[in-house]
């Protein structure tokens, strides 16, 4: 994981900054140059809401090498209150049953590390709201 690659992701991974198409109102994270829905190239910067719900999920028992230490972990597609969807983990799910439609809120967490001396990657994860 390169350092500049980490910087480039900070805006959205650390601060949930996204863009809204001024043509059709659809939101995107990360930012895009062209709206695939309406073709507009004009966007305004927005801050995403931290509240959302589970669209679908899976408990992962076999992870890639850099995440094998935390299996089993829950991965989900989350729909935030403004309609934007993203993929991330749900934290603190021990002994809790996950369901489609459950409310979550986004939290800031460590995501992965690049060996003992490499860059530590941070970003958003979701936590059950109830």
């Amino acid at each position: 994981m390169s350092v500049p690659k980490t910087w480039r992701g900070e805006k959205y991974r650390y601060r949930l900054e996204a863009v809204k198409c001024t043509g059709c109102g659809k939101t995107y994270m990360p930012a895009r140059a062209v709206c695939p829905e309406c073709g507009s190239r004009d966007f305004e910067d927005i801050k995403l809401p931290a509240e959302g719900k589970i669209v679908t999920y899976s408990m992962v028992h076999v992870g890639p090498a850099q995440m094998q230490f935390e299996v089993p972990y829950a991965v989900a597609i989350i729909e935030l209150e403004n309609g934007l969807r993203l993929t991330t983990q749900i934290v603190d799910t021990q002994n809790k049953e996950l369901k489609i439609g459950q409310k979550v809120r986004m939290v800031f967490r460590k995501i992965q590390e690049d060996g003992k001396t490499g860059v530590i990657g941070y970003g958003y994860k979701a936590m059950l709201a109830e």
Binding site: V60, V75, I77
Partner: protein, 382 residues
């Protein structure tokens, strides 16, 4: 545009082939396909491979395979569309022959997956690396999320998922080239090691070494060669959002539907005209959704289709007679061409113990990632 026919097919055995390198695999499949056709001269080569760079640290695959197949100086190009690389390579060869740029083209696919320790990581590069893989979404996890959504929306059951694997292992037990030639039960699928809930290891296609090749030429020349030519009557491709979460409906695979619609339209065929199909069952849920998108089942009824035996060898629409990715194996770049090889053998009546009764029209469907690219071809007996 010229009509095009397949005149030769060949493949290696699929499996953990420790004694084979990437080039060994491709050359064996290529020579078998050339010998099957009775062809020596070729005008060009297209080779599909998903990630020879990550799997064996080798790029520049076009030149490498041309050199080792012994065809000095022929044009050769590597084609990549993740797990659909083989299917897309076939289409590029087809376009070249149909367009009159070449007469005889070798189209192939290869993947050498067992030389790396972390095949899961290499495969995850077919998803959105920054926005899915980074957060821990593996491929089994992405398809598991499709499965969970499909079960929630349409009532698809755990047993229906398992039925795909049972059927494909049954077919694979009749295919001497398959990686897993053993039959399994619904109970065995459900009790096997959990990978990403609800999918167990027996819901997932394996890590496989293998290669497959086909030789194509203009239909008007095809009668000169050894075997009965099989005409390519339809081709269609489509893409979708790279990230699964960007799609409006997680239970559909829009690129599959569009690639099929385009191929059906070109061929002048509808789903009911298809006698058998090889589809991309990288996970059991994938075959269920794909059969819906291809029009073999109503949306949401793909689970019922397999459960009722309609996709079995003796069913209304046999699916994955070769054993599919699940049992035959899934050397990612080779898969799309291996599907073509199976359909050609079935349409020639050369499929041995798994031969279905007198098929006339066959279909192949091969997709990349979580369905971000899909390619469909339709073949007919001349």
């Amino acid at each position: 545009m010229r009509d095009v026919a397949v005149i030769g097919v060949g493949n290696t055995k699929f499996g953990e082939l420790w004694e084979y390198s990437l080039r060994d695999l491709f050359v064996e499949a290529a020579l078998k396909a050339l010998d099957d056709a009775g062809v020596d001269m070729i005008d060009s080569i297209y080779v599909g491979t998903m990630s020879s760079g990550m799997f064996v640290d080798q790029e520049h695959i076009g030149a490498l395979v041309a050199d080792y197949v012994g065809k000095k100086h022929v044009p050769a190009l590597r084609v990549e569309s993740a797990c659909a690389s083989g299917g897309f390579a076939f289409r590029q060869g087809l376009i070249e022959v149909a367009g009159g740029f070449s007469d005889i083209v070798l189209v192939g696919g290869v993947e050498k997956m067992t030389d790396t320790e972390d095949a899961t990581f290499a495969l995850s590069s077919a998803a959105d690396q920054d926005n899915e893989s980074y957060f821990g979404a593996t491929f089994p996890a992405l398809y598991a999320m499709i499965a969970r959504a499909h079960m929630h929306k349409y009532g698809t059951t755990r047993d229906q998922l398992a039925a795909v694997s049972v059927k494909n292992h049954n077919n694979g037990s009749l295919n001497p080239d398959a990686q897993f030639g053993r039959k399994i039960t619904i109970e065995a699928v459900k009790k096997s090691v959990m990978v990403a809930e609800p999918l167990t290891i027996l819901d997932c296609s394996p890590v496989t070494d293998g290669a497959a090749c086909a030789v194509i030429c203009p239909l008007e020349m095809a009668g000169k060669f050894k075997k009965k030519p099989i005409k390519v009557i339809g081709t269609g491709v489509a893409t979708d959002t790279i990230a699964l979460h960007s799609r409006e409906d997680i239970t559909t695979l829009k690129a599959v539907q569009l690639s099929a619609d385009r191929a059906y339209q070109m061929a002048g065929k509808k789903p009911g005209d298809i006698d058998l199909a090889e589809v991309h069952d990288c996970f059991t849920i994938a075959e269920i959704v794909v059969t819906e998108e291809l029009g073999f089942a109503e949306k949401g009824k793909g689970g019922l289709l397999v459960e009722e035996g309609k996709t079995a060898l003796d069913g209304e629409i046999p699916i994955n007679t070769s054993g599919g990715l699940k049992s035959k194996g899934h050397p990612v770049g080779a898969t799309g061409i291996a599907q073509v090889a199976e359909i050609v053998r079935q349409l020639r009546g050369e499929a041995g113990e798994r031969q279905i009764d007198n098929p006339k029209v066959g279909l192949t469907q091969n997709m990349g990632g979580s369905g971000a690219s899909s390619v469909t071809h339709i073949f007919e007996v001349v």
